[in-house]
Symmetry: C2
Subunit: 608 residues, 2 copies
């Protein structure tokens, strides 16, 4: 994607491209064959957009960066308690290849030094070397969103020269921090370090960690959220060897580097970043990697602890049913009841992720509105994610509301919540997919409670329609002679958008929806329910009055019966009974003044 | 505040209240006089709400928790480069009172061990002990939002027994990490540790760090944002002594504890938490403190690296001027031009904080809409905070847009941006306080570009008003005889909300605003501009037609001239010239059908 952000990253790339400080890793011969000019930067956002520059597609071996991902894998497979028995999480203050274990526990200090990493690889279960390695390769491939290969030459080279790591493995075995066969574990470890990745792969792997363990491109979960926290924790305290404290202080991102020249960093919730350049500094970190990360962090202010106050954004809107109602057009008395009593329904629209701080803001709004509210509507349509801790708080909220004879309605079309936890036998809670249907439901409860004889039985007589208000009985009988009657079965399209108007419809039985069709840029048809009508309401007057095309489809939601007043008869009235015609037009105007005022009020609530 | 969240924290308090593990600090006699039952919890949100339980108002000495705040203070006063010459930031792996310095640099390892803390206190400049201490006390008081005292007895006790710290100070002096007089520095340090705070104070101090260095209650900046990052970095790697790695792994919050029994933790952007209970474990951390934090973090999922994907929330709404316009009602041809060409104006409404990730999302939206957009409107009304890094990117965006003959308009009533940086001599960028006025501005540019003879000069003749469409010349001359004419000076209130309607107004010159007044719960009057009208537009018809009270005030924005059609004359027409009356009513209906359709369309855009 080419935009201002990519151009700024490109400037950074140009700035450090010419730097040739540092030297290639030489502890195995294969690594010295890297091209010292290689330099790639890739930034992947937590929603899967890439900014990749330079040699971002050049393959190289993952080396120590693998430690973070294997540690995550065994945490997912075996649980933290099992893993913690064998690997600590304290920074060691010692070199990455140190042959020392914690004197009291016998554990390696942490999974980012070789001893801890070999212990972690040793926890990957399998029938043999190939089986165990395949599990690791498969896991890394899911992070990268593609099938990863191994550099067999590097692997052989590592295996042929890896005596120090074999010593570490045997020491681990001595303290029972590694199971037999020791040789197999250390071979799997060498092979894991020889997996080939590109800078782009690494940025996506890091973005998967930034995105709470879900690969943002494939949508696959690659690590449990709890273990994402744990992996990032050890990356933040131990990921950059002896430079870890300074790195967090300066760059402020959990990170891991490898002697292949790669460095990955994670800004949780936001970005995965990878830099590749094989020239290393004395501490074993990529020189251009450290330079690029330091400047990128400064340039975009990416420091972990530069955290925006996120929770204030969590509440998108709070409104009352009296201010914004459903799309259903009702008879006047019903609208008035909703306007009068709708303050007892409070709708809270959330957005983003629904974690503790967002929940705490919801609870605060909820408790501020509790006195006048009977029903809270929690609109989660724009929420991406929640966690079980937050759902526990929500269940406590529901219990407290119910104890007070209050109800919660949740709009959750994407099943963000775990619905099975909300037993409707126990809790007074309702789930809806659609906010409009939920608001309709709330409106009907208000109408039931506050309007006398609220439900309309049988056919509404034509003279009760507002469009015929103020007529004399003589005028009414004249009108009666001009009305037709039409029936439409449920599911039938009664009016087609774009067609010429023929009649005004007086809905005497049943219910209809008005669907507006539009096409967006990519030619998809969008169908939006813009209104709904029930018995006693007229519709289709406007196109008849100004002779324009129908502006939307009308569908029968159930079996429908309508009186119809045709355009021809309306014209006939205009010439032969202008007083009746004038009254009809005036009534239509008054009906629409009401609609316009209501719509303006809603618009005011939504715009403010 | 009593709500579900406070009740859950209360349950936690009840759970650990009975625990009497651990023992009182005894390295100075004064501390053994604490009541072992004391137990307080306080949570302060980044926007300044408190949940305080138990002995949250009990005063105790701050002790080592002071190290974090003094380190921040000298960073603000002297800058990171000066401070880093004397204090490192790497975890030491050694005890907090260890008498050892980095063998190469001679620096103490980090500011959270005594050596580093004394070096930091030594960097506080002043005339004498009192002057230097007062600076620290004043600084801490600003964090706590109240004037803090010192426990003189504890201070004397620390001073009388503090030989080990005097040894450390002299060693620091030996390596030139501390200036003379050595004794004074160490006395200031003892006194700093003896400052009295409550649990509630500490939670607010932590919340000030969570809120990027601004005390959320007083609104005062207490630490620069860059230094907030640095203080939290060292708290996260070294804040809990030998338990720091495990703490970040398990609790996941930058934290600091003191032997007085306090522990503070910070969830950046969200919360400050403090627990007070003087019974300590073997590592010197409060037992109930560790228990409460561990469970609170698990219960509410507060781990630092459990980060919601924040940036997706940053964009509140993207829309085109063709979909949602200003409140100004215009003549039909003008509305049509806006509908037809308004897709060239793209409005992007942001919310929350405007940091890199939010900016990156804006840039992505901007580049996706660039092809058809001439003017971008960046609506920052709901943005709280930005940083200079993000403004650098914004300037780059403006440069690129301008190079392409595109313009940026920014809505920034709260001066979130540093307006001086946007030199309008260099950049084509406009700032508005009000979105409606900005949209009007964009509309007028479109009308200028796309409507022939767009501007109305002089008085609009009465027969050009839509309300008199389709009249014969005979009818028009009859109407002319019935019209009055009224003038109103700029700034005058022409119509009062709630009054009885007398006339329909045909605005022939000037401009008016329709202001809707409402009172909210706290009896404040809210004044919302719901519409604006210019020459050629009629208003005030609706109340005349349905004989309801005026629903809003009308104010003359400039000198205004109107034709008026009085209610009496309208009634006279109804009885004596019903054809004219019917046409007028029909025209009003058609005008309002247009308004209703436009309003419905806007409502659809805003609701979806």
């Amino acid at each position: 994607m080419h935009n201002t952000v990519s151009r700024i990253i490109h400037q950074l790339y140009d700035k450090y491209r010419g730097c040739s400080d540092g030297k290639l890793a030489d502890y195995i011969p294969e690594l010295t064959r890297a091209n010292p000019d290689w330099f790639g930067i890739s930034v992947a956002t937590a929603d899967g957009h890439f900014y990749s520059i330079g040699d971002a597609e050049q393959a190289f071996t993952i080396q120590s960066i693998s430690k973070a991902f294997t540690f995550g894998m065994v945490l997912d497979d075996l649980g933290v308690n099992t893993v913690e028995k064998r690997i600590g999480v304290e920074p060691s203050g010692e070199a990455f290849n140190s042959i020392s274990l914690d004197p009291i526990s016998g554990r390696p200090y942490n999974p980012m030094i070789n001893a801890g990493a070999i212990a972690a690889t040793g926890l990957v279960r399998g029938d043999d070397l190939d089986d165990r390695f395949e599990k690791i390769r498969h896991c890394f491939s899911r992070y990268a969103g593609r099938d990863l290969d191994v550099d067999e030459e590097v692997y052989r080279s590592e295996s042929e020269t890896g005596f120090r790591n074999r010593a570490i493995a045997n020491l681990l075995r001595n303290f029972e921090m590694l199971d037999d066969p020791v040789d197999e574990a250390v071979e799997v470890y060498f092979k894991q370090c020889s997996i080939l990745v590109t800078c782009r792969d690494l940025s996506l792997m890091a973005a998967s960690l930034a995105n709470s363990g879900v690969n943002p491109v494939t949508g696959e979960r690659v690590l449990k959220p709890d273990n994402v926290e744990r992996v990032l924790s050890v990356m933040s305290t131990c990921g950059m060897y002896d430079y870890s404290g300074e790195w967090i202080f300066t760059v402020g991102l959990p990170a891991k580097s490898g002697v292949g020249g790669g460095v990955v960093g994670v800004l949780p919730g936001q970005l995965g970043v990878a830099v590749f350049s094989p020239l290393l500094d004395a501490k074993g970190n990529s020189v251009r990697g450290v330079q690029t990360f330091t400047e990128l962090s400064r340039l975009f202010n990416l420091h972990l602890f530069n955290s925006p106050a996120v929770a204030g954004q969590a509440i998108r809107r709070v409104y009352k049913l009296s201010e914004v109602g459903s799309h259903r057009q009702r008879v006047k008395a019903h609208h008035e009841a909703i306007r009068q009593y709708g303050h007892s329904v409070t709708i809270v629209e959330m957005q983003g992720d629904f974690f503790f701080s967002a929940m705490e803001h919801f609870v605060r709004v909820q408790s501020a509105h509790t006195a006048e509210t009977v029903t809270f509507v929690l609109d989660l349509r724009r929420v991406n994610l929640t966690d079980s801790a937050t759902e526990n708080v929500l269940l406590a909220v529901i219990k407290e509301l119910n104890a007070d004879n209050r109800q919660l309605i949740v709009i959750d079309p994407a099943n963000i919540l775990e619905h099975a936890r909300y037993d409707t036998e126990i809790y007074d809670v309702l789930f809806f997919d659609d906010i409009d249907i939920a608001l309709e439901h709330c409106e009907e409860i208000l109408i039931q409670a506050h309007v006398e004889a609220p439900m309309i039985k049988g056919l509404v007589p034509f003279h009760e329609f507002e469009i015929f208000n103020d007529m004399t009985s003589q005028e009414l009988s004249l009108i009666e002679g001009l009305l037709g009657m039409e029936g439409f079965p449920a599911g039938c399209k009664m009016i087609e958008q774009g067609s010429d108007p023929e009649s005004i419809y007086l809905l005497t039985k049943g219910s209809v929806s008005i669907i507006y069709n539009s096409s967006n840029n990519s030619d998809d048809q969008l169908h939006q329910r813009i209104a709904a009508f029930g018995p006693g309401v007229s519709f289709g007057e406007l196109a008849v009055v100004d002779c324009s095309k129908r502006t939307a489809d009308v569908w029968a939601d159930e079996d429908v019966t309508c009186y119809t007043l045709s355009l021809d008869n309306l014209r006939m009235l205009e010439s032969s009974s202008s007083a009746i015609h004038a009254k009809i037009i005036r009534n239509i105007l008054i009906i629409n003044i009401d609609r316009l005022r209501r719509t303006n009020q809603e618009l005011g609530s939504l715009k403010s």
